[in-house]
């Protein structure tokens, strides 16, 4: 995912803002990392450039 995608993403469960942690990125986008909800503490992985924002329990 590109960094600017973060501007429109929110936590699917509580709609809180997400904090990005990058593990690996290239010139274009973030390849591996995670998105942490500041409000409810839920964490969502980014794998192979795709964020997985399924609510916890459904993934």
């Amino acid at each position: 995912m590109r960094r600017d995608l973060l501007d429109i993403l929110c936590c699917p469960v509580c709609k809180g803002g997400l904090v990005l942690t990058v593990v690996e990125e290239n010139d274009e986008e973030i390849l591996e990392g995670s998105l942490l909800c500041e409000a409810c503490g839920a964490s969502y992985p980014i794998c192979a450039g795709i964020p997985n924002l399924l609510p916890p329990g459904i993934e």
Binding site: R2, L9, P12, C47, I50, L53, L54, I58
Partner: protein, 238 residues
């Protein structure tokens, strides 16, 4: 939804063989045209249940920007591999991970029938659309042909048939009144529906050709025989 997710992960590799080749390509393109004609061109679109990104390809080619969301990680991986300029997200349509008022348009092709909480999905779509934004969806419609389909799929599963879109997923076949009620309850306005699809990709070649010829007539004059249902609506300006 776990079963739907598993199914589409299993068929991600062969999905486009069904919907982007031969009869399937015509069938899917016809639905895409119906949806595209109900949405503003050149806007920012969310495709709910985007699969391998077939509608995203079209919307972007027509000058728009698009994000695809699907419950199947393998389907969105296929989409991302092909359409690098668009973003793809794994998620479920009834709990959306996007901020309020983000999109000009929302589309959903052949996915709504599988959503277990359709009212929740429409509430969420309403939330992520900007005021005046448009939604267009195409779902399985209830008619004389489709009423037998769940039974056929149950039998298919029992005999181990593994094909794209074939399985008993508790899918719901909608009629016009149901879909209008759902859209109205979510707050949408300018609601309209239209039956589409008579030439089914599973028909044998000559029968498919004949069905394709009469398809516009069926959709217009005997819509009850068309088995998909398109619906479109708007979020009020204020």
């Amino acid at each position: 939804m776990k079963k739907v997710q598993q199914h589409y992960d299993d068929v991600a590799e062969i999905y486009d063989d069904r919907y982007d080749r031969d009869q399937g390509r015509y069938y899917h393109a016809h639905i895409r045209e119906q949806i595209a004609s109900r949405l503003p061109k050149g806007g920012f679109l969310l495709d709910l249940g985007c699969g391998t990104g077939l509608f995203i390809r079209q919307y972007v080619a027509d000058g728009g920007r698009a994000i695809g969301l699907d419950i199947s990680p393998k389907m969105v991986a296929k989409g991302k591999e092909r359409y690098r300029q668009s973003e793809f997200v794994v998620g479920t349509a009834d709990v959306l991970p996007f901020c309020d008022g983000t999109f000009d348009a929302a589309a959903s092709l052949l996915a709504f029938s599988y959503v277990p909480r359709p009212a929740a999905m429409l509430d969420e779509v309403y939330r992520i659309l900007r005021p005046g934004g448009s939604l267009a969806l195409c779902t399985l419609g209830h008619n004389v042909f489709t009423s037998a389909v769940p039974f056929i799929y149950q039998v298919g599963e029992k005999v181990g048939l593994k094909k794209v879109g074939v399985g008993d997923f508790d899918e719901h076949y909608y009629n016009e009144a149901e879909i209008c009620d759902l859209l109205e309850s979510a707050g949408f306005v300018d609601i309209s529906t239209k039956r589409c699809s008579f030439a089914h990709l599973a028909l044998r070649g000559p029968v498919f050709k004949a069905a394709r010829l009469v398809e516009p007539f069926v959709e217009e004059k005997i819509p009850y025989l068309a088995y998909n249902l398109c619906a479109s609506a708007k979020k009020p300006e204020r």
